[in-house]
Structure formats: C-alpha cells, structure tokens
Subunit: 245 residues, 2 copies
DNA sequence: TCAATAGTGTCTTTGAGACACTATCGC
DNA sequence: GCGATAGTGTCTCAAAGACACTATTGA
C-alpha cells in the first residue's frame, strides 16, 4: 500500500490454507480435514488457520503444517512449502470477511495425519478422486472455495515438475530412479518414457547424485536399482515436458 | 481457513500494490508514485491502496489501476492484470499490520500518469535504473518492501514472456513484428535473433494475425514492415527461451 | 548509390520421441 | 529356463542457434 491511512477501513481476518501433497501407494494425494463446526460442518476442507499477529503468512503456514502432519521446518528437505496465491472473494466465508493466503506443501510419504484441535478427522485423498472430470468427483465436495484452491495447486505442481527438480521433494533419501519416475507418473497421470526419463534426469547436472549401493530386495523380483540422493540443481533446462492431455 | 472462529484474532488491513509496466522509448518501465505522507514521505513507491469491504483484491487492483492511469477494464486488451503474490511481513508497514496482495499490470505505451489523490507525483521509471545491479540502483530506493515486490514482478514478467504471448499486451494494434521484437529486447535486455524470432512468432499458430497493410513511413528510412493484430493463442510451446544471463 | 531497416534461407547442432535391446534379480 | 523389473543404445525428426543473404524504402 502507499496512499492513505487506514482510518475508516474495515478489518479483515487473514488466514492460510494449505494444500499438502504426497505420493501414497502410487497415487498423488492431498490432505483434507473434516470440519467439526459450522459452516460446512461434516464437509472436508484444506487444513488452515489464522495468521497470528507476530507471524507472516509463510510462518503461519509452516506452523499449521507442523500441527497437522508433524513435519518440521528444520534443514533443507524437512519438506517444501511455497505460497500459491491469495483468495479474497468477499463472500468466500459466510461468517466474516476473510482473506486466505493459500500455500502448497509437499513431502515424501507422510505418517498418518494428526487430527487438528477442532477438526473431526483428517485423511489423505487421491487427487484424482477429488477433481471434477467428465463424471464429476468421486470424493467429497470441498468446503468454501477450496475446490478452486485445490485445482490451482494441482496445476501449479504439474507445471513445476516440468522445469524444476520439485519431484525430489516427494521422495525420501536414498531413492531409486524408478521411484522418482513414479512421482512424475502419479502427478501427471501418465508415465514418461523410461529411457528418455533417465536420459533427462541423469543428463541434468546435479539433479541426482548416485551412491555406491543398490536397493535391498523388496517383495517382487527383478533387478535391484541403484540408489541416489538429491542433487543441488533447482531447475531443469530445457524443461521436461509432460505428454499432451 | 477451516478450523476456528476469529474471536480473539486481531484485525489486519488488506491492501493491493501494483507494478504497472509499459515500454517507453524502448525501455522497460514501471510506474511509481511519490509519497506525500509519512512514512517514507518523499520516497517513491508502487501505487496501491486499501481493499474495500465489497471488493476482492483483483477488483481493487483494477480500480487502483484506473485511478492511476485511466486504463479501463473493458474488453479484451483494455490492459492485462494478474496477481503476483502476497507480502505479509509483520513489520512491513510501521503504522499497523498490513497485508498486501501485489499485482502486475501491463499496457501499451500509456499516457502520462495522473497523480493519485495524496501522492505528490507519479512518473515512469526505467526498470534498469531501479534494480540493484553490480553498481547499485541509479534511481530512488523504494518505500516499504516495494523493491522486493518489484524484483519479483520483473522476474515474473521475464519468465512469462518465454512461454506465453504476454508480449502482445505491450503493443497497441496494429503493430509490426519489429515492434513486438523490441518488447522482448526491452524486457530481457538483449535482442532475440531476428530470423529466429520471426520463425517462432510466425510459426506459432494464431500468435499474430497478419493484415494487408504496411506501416506508414516514420522518420528514419528503411523498408516498411507489415502490420499485424493480436492472435488468440495464449501459450508458446515449446517456449521461446531467453539467452543465458 | 548508400544507409537503414524488413524480411528470407539454410547449415549445424541439440535434444526429444519412440522403441528395441540387454542386464540382473527371484523363483 | 521364465516373469519381472532395471538399465542401455540408437534411429528419426523437430526445432533452436547462428548467420549469410535479399528486399524495400528515403535521402
């Protein structure tokens, strides 16, 4: 702002909403909480809460993320969180004037969520079951304008996988290239060609760093993949484009 | 938001700040207003103002844009405006707790700005003179956190020229390809190769639509360029990458 | 005829897309 | 050996980069 003083200007409540994503059982999934109070009691919503007086929005978002999932901010790769955009329609909350700064967060397969203080429950939902496709959603309709926020968040992530190394945020170290490829498969909905995927990942300097060891046998047979750690590269150029559709 | 009621939660003021860009005399330029009141009286700042009770942030941004520049929202290409991000550091305004939803706007060469009600003046500044380079800024230091907002806005625009047809928002119809190329040159700071630029623009379906007429002679001699209108395409794929640097 | 600008053509190189092939594991 | 998974090689084609060349104007 720059022009006037705020005298006569009404107060707003400011909140953060979080779209927290992970890959669970190969499915691109988002955390929702069941609302315990009106409005929308019994509906599912993105987790969130009020920004406190001493906080900026990002700090509030980290606090909420920790409260809901236990993820800590410490170090690089204690999860990743970034601002998405701000939603400010005057009627988006029937109780009062609320402006919400939405954020997007990711982490490798997370523990079962804790229930928030006044949320009746919390669970992961497959994103595909929530988004409206030709048939409409298989999951619940979301409270407030959270369906719109979720759509925007999903599109942001799909786009950022193309030109950043964001996919690394969805795997725990050490990881295999097939695991990393399954992140792209889950988020984009179709598998990138195996050979081309490897060429791109291994050809991008410092995207992944090989270790000397191979994964230990899992259940199904098959050759054991080499393990990698995350590299320091942040961007992929030229981008790895998703297939059309 | 989703969890609690706002009882006990302190009020925020919500504002919009605008980074309004145009190309003036071949220079990528941004509109600043001179502050008439404390804090930062006499400093330059991005134009902006409070969000009114009945408005969402985007509506408030359009209103401010109109007040400052006269640009109307009507129709396609009465200018372009989009949300950038939200700035919410607790101490960003010494007077009170203010959250600002920053927006970016563009238009073809605009008339001289009107002074806002309580802004002492308003003028265009070349972006290059404001951004800190090796030598520090040649222009004024900006009020509040507006230098950070401006940096983010400039980077957003530079990036979006690569994969969208946003450059069209900087030219008035009808326009020539050399004019359009000068937009890229001004924003990126270096000229894309002429032949490659034409190949990309003309090869992208519906990026530009040719007319039957050529420009009328200007001052300097030289062949007269064909005139075009904006096409309906919104994205460029694969992107037109800026040169390294 | 010259300077200035608009516009075309083309050679080379990079890298994506597609897909066949080889390697290593458990059984 | 077979099924399953990991990993390699290679042919083709689209498109960017670089840059030389031609075209049209005013003076």
């Amino acid at each position: 702002m720059s022009t006037d003083d705020s005298r006569g200007h009404p107060p707003f409540a400011v909140t953060v909403d979080l779209a927290v994503f992970t890959i669970r059982d190969g499915a691109f999934s988002v955390l929702l909480v069941e609302r315990g109070v009106e409005p929308y009691a019994g509906s599912w919503a993105l987790p969130g809460g009020f920004v406190e007086p001493h906080e900026d929005a990002e700090t509030a978002a980290w606090r909420e993320l920790h409260e809901e999932t236990g993820v800590e901010r410490f170090g690089r790769h204690g999860g990743h969180l970034e601002q998405l955009r701000t939603y400010s329609a005057p009627d988006r909350d029937p109780r009062m004037r609320v402006v919400s700064v939405a954020h997007v967060a990711f982490a490798p397969d997370l523990p079962e969520p804790r229930a928030g203080s006044d949320a009746a429950g919390a669970r992961w939902w497959a994103v595909d079951d929530l988004l409206v496709r030709s048939t409409g959603p298989d999951g619940p309709r979301l409270a407030f304008d959270h369906a719109e926020i979720l759509r925007d968040a999903v599109e942001r992530i799909r786009a950022k996988l193309e030109y950043t190394t964001l996919a690394l945020e969805f795997v725990a170290e050490p990881f295999t290239l097939p695991e990393l490829r399954r992140v792209y498969t889950a988020v984009w909905g179709s598998a990138p060609d195996l050979g081309n995927f490897r060429r791109k990942v291994l050809g991008t300097e410092d995207f992944v760093v090989p270790t000397q060891t191979h994964e230990t046998p899992s259940e199904a047979g098959g050759r054991r993949a080499l393990l990698y750690r995350r590299g320091a590269a942040a961007s992929i150029s030229p981008p790895m484009l998703r297939a059309i559709g």
